[in-house]
Amino acid sequence: MKFDTIAAVATPMGEGGIAVIRVSGPEAIEVVDNIYKGKRKLSTVDTHTIHYGHLVDPQTGDLVEEVLVSVMKAPRTFTREDVVEVNCHGGIVSVERVLELILEHGARLAEPGEFTKRAFLNGRVDLSQAEAVIDLIRAKTDRAMKVALHQVEGKLSRLIRNLRQNLIEAMAHIEVTLDYPEHDVEEFTQNFLREKCLEVREEVGRLLQTAKQGKILREGLSTAIIGRPNVGKSSLLNSLVQEEKAIVTDVAGTTRDVIEEYVNVRGVPLRLIDTAGIRETEDVVEKIGVEKSRQLLQKADLVLLVVNYNEPLSPDDYAIFETAKGFSVIVIVNKFDLPQKIDLEEVKRHFPDQPLIMTSAKMEQGIELLEKAIADIFFAGRVQQDDLTYVSNARHIHLLRQAERAIDDALAGIDQLMPVDMIQIDIKKAWELLGEVIGESVGEDLIDQIFSQFCLGK
């Protein structure tokens, strides 16, 4: 039997170690090949071999992850289909990023127990195990449902239900004008429909935002400290990581061998990227610079850009300014205790809307202000922490993202003056996807809504 291509995380979700994302189906190799960059195309490699490379987002060209990829061609695989297993860093962020990328390039998220099911249907599992397979799928489905239910209980499910109700009322209105053209219901104008779609899009966008925020609370706000050498990055770092203060000596980069450090700043968990790198290279002038900054930025939710009060802006500073544009940046003018040689107006001209903090890391000045700025950025315009509804399940995020895309398609249709019944195709799709998030079936809902909302008859 021909199946489509599915993917899921095969290892338990959690911090640390290596995670495996399994892709199975006729297009498994093609799907991963689309986003894989290594010595050879995966389509050309031998079966049952492992390859080192990177996953790249083909749209942006961004490197997403460093990976090991196992290619196993049918039939000698678990599912008897082509299987590709992507091994990546075990952190939730990287795993979700990899899975998302795979799902965006042609695979579907596997149902609970679906790999086992395929293994069985393709004759891999012995007949005597059929009962066990059924039990397993049943159990996995029930558990997944329980987990999903638990996650969508309360605020989130109410939010989505409201959103769907909103959508279905609009849909019923549209359907009535289609199925009862002579009925005296006013037709939606393009503008009204656009408004409706924008409302929904905003709501879905907000939900996805909470997904990000939930992740941040769990994972820490990924923060990069950048700036050319000698601006005082490491002393700033140490001011933030207070217990490590003792490490700051005249010879930096000698003590630590970690990539990330966690620090809690006024309730905001920061994950500082490449702190070792900062320490290692602070003295070695030629090694640091623009290239390093650019790499760090790719991973950052927040950028702390450091310049030196005591020196005029150099071409390196300008280059770093350019790379930091478009990110969430706090500009730190360090060594404020020394005489001014920097053109402050020039710095402000480059970052007119970003906070600018004057600090003296050595003298502990301005650190409070910096902490406040970080907290402001995180909480700015957002509800209080305990009021947040989080979307954290990978499947939900995936569905919401698809719903968002469907609404975008509807909006594009509206702008291209497409007929309303075409636009309805995308609106309905969004409504169905949202229903999947909270486990509501499609069924007769729309027809019911039409007849309860409108008075129709002969």
Binding site: L178, M418, M422, C455, K458
Partner: protein, 633 residues
């Protein structure tokens, strides 16, 4: 069987009981497919009778009429020959919901259909009341009439409409009756129950009729037909141009007051009516009660035909007492002096639960017996005709030892209709809506021939001549599409820029495909051919297809992808003899539902109410196990 004397009245391949819209199509299809066919009806003067609204078509229903035509049915042709007005609805919307609707001349419609039936070889039309089915060894082998005649057949199609244990309710009055005081079919209903069929009780209704001369049309809005000649059938070449208008007026506070103050006399509210009515077809009293914030409701006055002054009052379906009906009518603007010719009434009738049918419309309980039309829980002439056609085709194919024709949800509204009925059942009279079709964009009225003519030809209901004409059309469409997709226009062609300017479309700055231009919202096919004309002049319907298929290509492709996914599920067939109760790990409710419906494939199983994805997984595992054991034996 009763003890009254009987006699052998002859043998046929197929017998059709009932000559309404389902029965006529069933009998014609069967006879045209070469089966010796007998069509029995209680009253020969009620062939193709329209007991309610005098119209055919509209959204989804009009699509079905086109589909019936593409498969070689009669409704489209018969309407084209007899209508008094035609309109294309929804022209301001997308092509998928454009819909043709005709105002019918009821009497002419009947006469024309009767004539067609009488002149069809292999087909005999007879007046008879069928009381029982002849059942032998659990197989339906014929019918027994009230006069004791036994007709034998290899297949029987039952289309009882609202005659089956029909009961008319009008105010305090109620009596056993078929539609419009026809004789009801009582005995057969009990017989079906004895055979073990589960019956449902449904209700429908019709508004009063009034005399045209007593209406003041100056107080109403006129609703004329289209100026462009229209037709349902792909065969029609002669068009009726002399059209009659309809008229629009509204209910008002006085009407609503009359209804509210007489609610205690309305059978709907006094508990007299037990049958389930349809939400989309409420009586006026129902509308006023349920939507009491609505200040007025539309009322259309529609002629019942050319040779009568009777008019149908659309929107005023009611079972109120006669004198209340008259007061209600006279409260309407333009109807102050109106003369009522017949009162409206509600009618209750028996229907079979359609989940007792295979998708071929053959009953699961009694092989050889097919049911079609209102007996299957639907409402509407078009829904009836569609089922009648399919039941007739499949009865004939059964006789000829051929597999049934089952249309998919992606192929036709007829497929949607039948799949909904046999997979989900219905708790109210079922009406087709375009909203019920998940692939609405693919099921357009304009492409019904492209979707179904091959099948119509294959089963022998489309003539060779018509098929050749169809193939030519399809070829022209493909050629022209190819041309539009591959022709490029250059910006230095002055006439191109001029066409664009006139259409208010941005002028070209670089070479571009014609197709790209056609996708611009402000441009249509006629603009395109002004820039680059086709080598030969093309018929309008070819140009229409090219435009729709290219302009909405993105959306069409999206729908096709969805169809692909569904088809993967439908390709996996379920053996008929599977015992669902042996499947452990499936919810009991799902097991019960599946063993009742007995879905033909995984796709259908997934559409059964209450069945969830886990049940489907378990079913697939079980099937695999089942197949392997079967293979090992």
């Amino acid at each position: 069987m009763s003890d009254a004397p009987t006699y052998e009245a002859g043998s046929y391949d197929v017998i059709v009981i009932g000559a309404g819209h389902a029965g006529c199509e069933a009998a014609l299809a069967s006879a045209r497919m070469g089966c010796n066919t007998l069509l029995l009806t209680i009253n020969l003067d009620a062939v193709a009778f329209m007991p309610c609204n005098p119209s055919v078509g509209g959204p989804a229903k009009g699509h079905v009429v086109r589909e019936v035509d593409a498969l070689g049915g009669e409704m489209a042709r018969n309407t084209d020959k007899t209508h008094i007005q035609m309109r294309m609805l929804n022209t301001g919307k997308g092509p998928a919901v454009h819909a043709l609707r005709a105002q019918a001349d009821k009497i002419a419609y009947q006469h024309e259909m009767k004539k067609t039936i009488e002149n069809t070889p292999n087909l005999l039309l007879r007046q008879a009341m069928v009381e029982e089915l002849v059942v032998n060894d659990g197989v339906c082998e014929g019918v027994l009439t009230q006069t004791g005649a036994i007709y034998r057949a290899k297949a029987v199609v039952l289309t009882t409409g609202t005659y089956l244990r029909g009961k008319i309710i009008l105010g305090d009055l109620q009596y056993e009756s078929g539609p419009n005081n026809m004789r009801p079919s009582i005995r057969l209903a009990y017989h079906l129950k004895e055979l073990g069929f589960e019956l449902k009780r449904f209700k429908t209704g019709t508004p009063p009729r009034v005399h045209k001369h007593s209406v003041d049309f100056s107080k109403m809005e006129i609703q004329p037909g289209d100026d462009v000649p229209r037709a349902f059938s792909y065969e029609t070449t002669e068009f009726i141009t002399d059209q009659l208008p309809c008229w629009l007026t509204y209910t008002n506070e006085e009407t609503h007051g009359l209804i509210n103050s007489n609610l205690h006399r309305a059978p709907m509210y006094s508990g007299t009516i037990e049958g389930a009515g349809a939400r989309y077809c409420p009586s006026i009293e129902d509308k006023v009660v349920r939507f009491n914030d609505k200040p007025r409701h539309q009322i259309f006055l529609e002629p019942e035909g050319r040779n009568t002054e009777e008019m149908y009052v659309q929107g005023l379906s009611t079972s109120m007492p006669e004198e209340v009906q008259l007061s209600m009518l006279r409260s309407l603007a333009g109807m102050e002096q109106v003369k009522m010719m017949r009162p409206g009434y509600a009618i209750e009738y028996d229907a079979v639960d359609p989940t007792q049918l295979w998708p071929s419309l053959e009953t699961k309980k009694l092989p050889g017996l097919f049911t079609a039309g209102q007996i299957n829980g639907t409402s509407g002439y078009e829904e009836a005709a569609a089922q009648g056609l399919m039941a007739g085709i499949n009865a004939a194919r059964k006789v000829q030892d051929k597999p049934p024709v089952i249309l998919g949800r992606e192929q036709a509204y007829i497929g949607v209709l039948i799949d909904d009925l046999v997979t989900k059942g219905t708790y109210e009279p079922y009406r087709l809506l375009t909203s019920r079709a998940e692939y609405r964009l693919l099921l357009r009225h304009d492409n019904a021939d492209l979707r179904l003519t091959d099948i119509g030809y294959e089963i022998g209901l489309i003539s060779e001549e018509r098929y050749q004409r169809f193939l030519k059309k399809r070829e022209l469409i493909e050629q022209e599409k190819e041309r539009v997709l591959n022709t490029r226009v250059r910006p230095d062609l002055p006439h191109v820029q001029e066409v664009l300017r006139e259409a208010g479309s941005p002028e070209l700055t670089e070479v571009i495909e014609l197709a790209q231009l056609l996708r611009r919202p402000e441009l249509n096919y006629h603009h395109i051919i002004k820039m680059a004309p086709p080598p030969i002049e093309l018929p309008e319907e070819v140009m229409e297809q090219v435009e729709i298929q290219i302009k909405y290509d993105g959306y069409i492709r999206k729908s096709l992808q969805q169809v692909e996914r569904m088809k993967k599920m439908e390709e996996r067939r379920i053996p008929e003899d599977i015992d669902y109760h042996k499947i452990t790990g499936m919810a009991k409710e799902s097991r019960d539902n599946m063993s009742r419906i007995r879905p033909l494939n995984i796709g259908q199983a997934a559409r059964i109410s209450g069945v969830n994805p886990a049940d489907i997984s378990v079913l697939m595992i079980y099937l695999e196990q089942y197949n392997r054991v079967g293979a090992a034996d």
